[in-house]
Each structure stands twice: as C-alpha cells, then as structure tokens.
Symmetry: C3
C-alpha cells in the first residue's frame, strides 16, 4: 500500500471562477507509482470547493448563474456585517458544495466519464493563490 501526497498550486480570479484541473491530477496519479486506488482531491480554505462538470463555456456560465440564484451575492449576510470582507456568499456556497471529492483510478487511469472534468470553484471575491491537496492511496 502506498500513500502519496501531492500538491497543485493554482492562481484564481475568484468570483466563482471554475478551473479545470483534470490533466494535472491525471499526471500526478500517473507518476505516483500507484496502479489502483483513489485520489482524494481536497481544497484547504472555506471559500472554494471541488466537483466535476463537462467543462465547456456554456455550462461554466450556467453554473455561475445557478450559484447566483440559490446563494445570491447581493443579499444580506451576518458574516459580512461582522467581518466586512463581503464574501459571506462565498463561504456558504463552498460549504454547500463540499471541499473534496474522491475519484477512483484503475491501471493509473482516472475512472472519469469522457466529458467529465475535475474542477475547482473559487467563490471568493478577490484573486487567490490556492493549494490543492491530492492524497493518492492504493497499491
């Protein structure tokens, strides 16, 4: 059994930006020396999340509109009253989405669908440098 922890650095623009990190994750899995197992993709921080999507411009727009609809940026948040940083909606979106997904791989290949990419959603209201943790486990 092997545990291999890798870290990916990304710069984001925030504001709900959606970044495709599939090729970086596939490369780390391929280079890990582990043939079969899982990669847990975890983003430290409380204003960003991880999911999968068919990464094409239409859905990127649709996803941002969904977030604005269900967790609007322009309503009142207690967090903003207390801290004044204006990112209450970013925290709530991140908590609803979740900070991690776990993706199986077999013979070093992620079991993603053909049109399914792993994405980071950065909901914060300013550009951020993010570190993504990849915990690769298996044999």
């Amino acid at each position: 059994m092997t545990v291999s922890c890798k870290r990916i650095q990304i710069d984001t623009q925030g504001q709900g930006e959606i970044l495709n990190v599939t090729s970086e994750i596939a490369r780390e899995v391929n280079n890990s020396g582990v043939n079969d197992g899982t990669v847990t993709v975890f983003i430290p921080g409380s204003t960003a999340g991880v999911s999968t999507i068919e990464f094409e411009p239409g859905l990127v727009t649709d996803m941002k509109e969904m977030w604005e609809r269900i967790v609007p940026s322009n309503i009142s948040y207690e967090h903003n009253k207390a801290w004044g940083d204006g990112n209450g909606h970013a925290h709530i979106r991140a908590s609803l989405l979740s900070p991690s997904i776990t993706v199986p791989f077999v013979h070093k290949r992620l079991t993603l669908g053909t049109w399914q990419q792993i994405v980071i959603l950065d909901f914060d209201v300013r550009p951020r440098s993010r570190e993504i943790i990849l915990q690769i486990m298996g044999e």
Copy 2:
C-alpha cells in the same frame, strides 16, 4: 491492504430517476475479501450523481421537486443553446450534488443508518445505461 474495483451496471430512465443501489454495493463489499475499509461509489459521466436518502416514495417525490425548484429544467441554459441536447439542468444538478460518496465498512458491513440507502440520481433527459465504479479499499 487490498484494492478491489467492482463495477455495477444499471439501466435508468433519467429525468431525475432515483435508484437504490444499496444491496448491490453491500454484496460487493461482502464478497471483496476486505473486512474493514471504505467503498468509494463513483459515477462516471456529468449528468448523474450519488447520495444517500431514506428510500421511500414520498421522499423520492420531494427530492425531485427540490431539484426542479433550485435547478429548474424549464429556464434558459447556455449549454442548451450551444449543444441543443436540452440537458443543461441535468449537468448543473450533477455538479452541485457531486459524483461520489465514500462509505466506511466494518466487519464487511456498511456503516449506514437503518433508514439510509445509497442512491444514484440520473438527471439526464433520456434513458441511459450507467456503470457505477466501486473502489473498495482496506484490509
């Protein structure tokens, strides 16, 4: 340590259908030769997701109504304008829900609650044949 990858085939009707796959997963875990560990339930594709629910007809209806309320099928999606397949809402629902859950098991038994079942939600607008990946890891 053992890694055992199993695949379950299911035919769905789409349109938000919710399928109870608990007994199939429990059987694969029981037959895997692994006593204690986790099963990661992952669905390839970008229009379906995985969760748990008390699987009874009332909640199945309530769940579908929730999805129609927060990610409606009858509003405009950029994805549909570009691709014409009419399943923009299915993609957005799947991304919000997430494609995987990880469930512990102890002495070959899933640690689910008594009224908690593992379900696949297929949001696509047509019947699909789906393959679910079970990555069983432990010792």
Copy 3:
C-alpha cells in the same frame, strides 16, 4: 497500511444545528498511529450531513438561512403526509449536502485551511444522539 475505525458520540439539538467536531477528529487522527492518509467522516442516518465551514456565529446563521431559502421547512412534503413526522425538509437537506467528506492528513495533521472547520449539520426536528464514524486509513 492501517485501517482504524473510531466513533464520536454527540448530542445535538437538531433544527439545523451546526456542530464543530474538528478537534475531536484531529485528536483521533493524532492518536491513530497512522502518519499519512485520509479520514472519511461519515454520519449514519438520513437527516444530517457533513461539511466544512469557517465556524463563526455569522456564518452559522447565514448557513441556516440558506437552507431555509432553498429547502424550506414550511412547504408541503409528501414524506410528511405519509409519515407525519414533519421532517421531510431535513431528509432533503441531508441528501443534497451528503453524509460524508474525506479529509487528507500528512504527518498526523489534517490538511484543513486555517479558518476551515469540519462540521456536522443536524437537520432533524428534535434533539438526537448521533454517532459519527471516522474511518482513518493510511500508513
């Protein structure tokens, strides 16, 4: 490779209460004898969920308001008509949020952000005693 299953007991008030369980989880990871790996935090039952949040009073209030907005407690649920227990919204919220997250740890330390805590959300309409499963795996 080691698999270590720990259980945390908590008493909740329900009604969407959000409980910070980070220190309990960090302690179990630290005491597990595993240096590097993942902890899967899983809550049995179908009316509670797990996520991360910056645990401060403003966001706790904002989170409860978000749930009331997207999965209201005061609308009609088929589950309530059939079972009369009045917790249909609790089930639907739990299914949308998900019952598990998986958090990596390195040198026995969770890879959480500085202001990111692991929380249990109990959506049920009455006080509950809950058991949380921690499946700690690694080497």
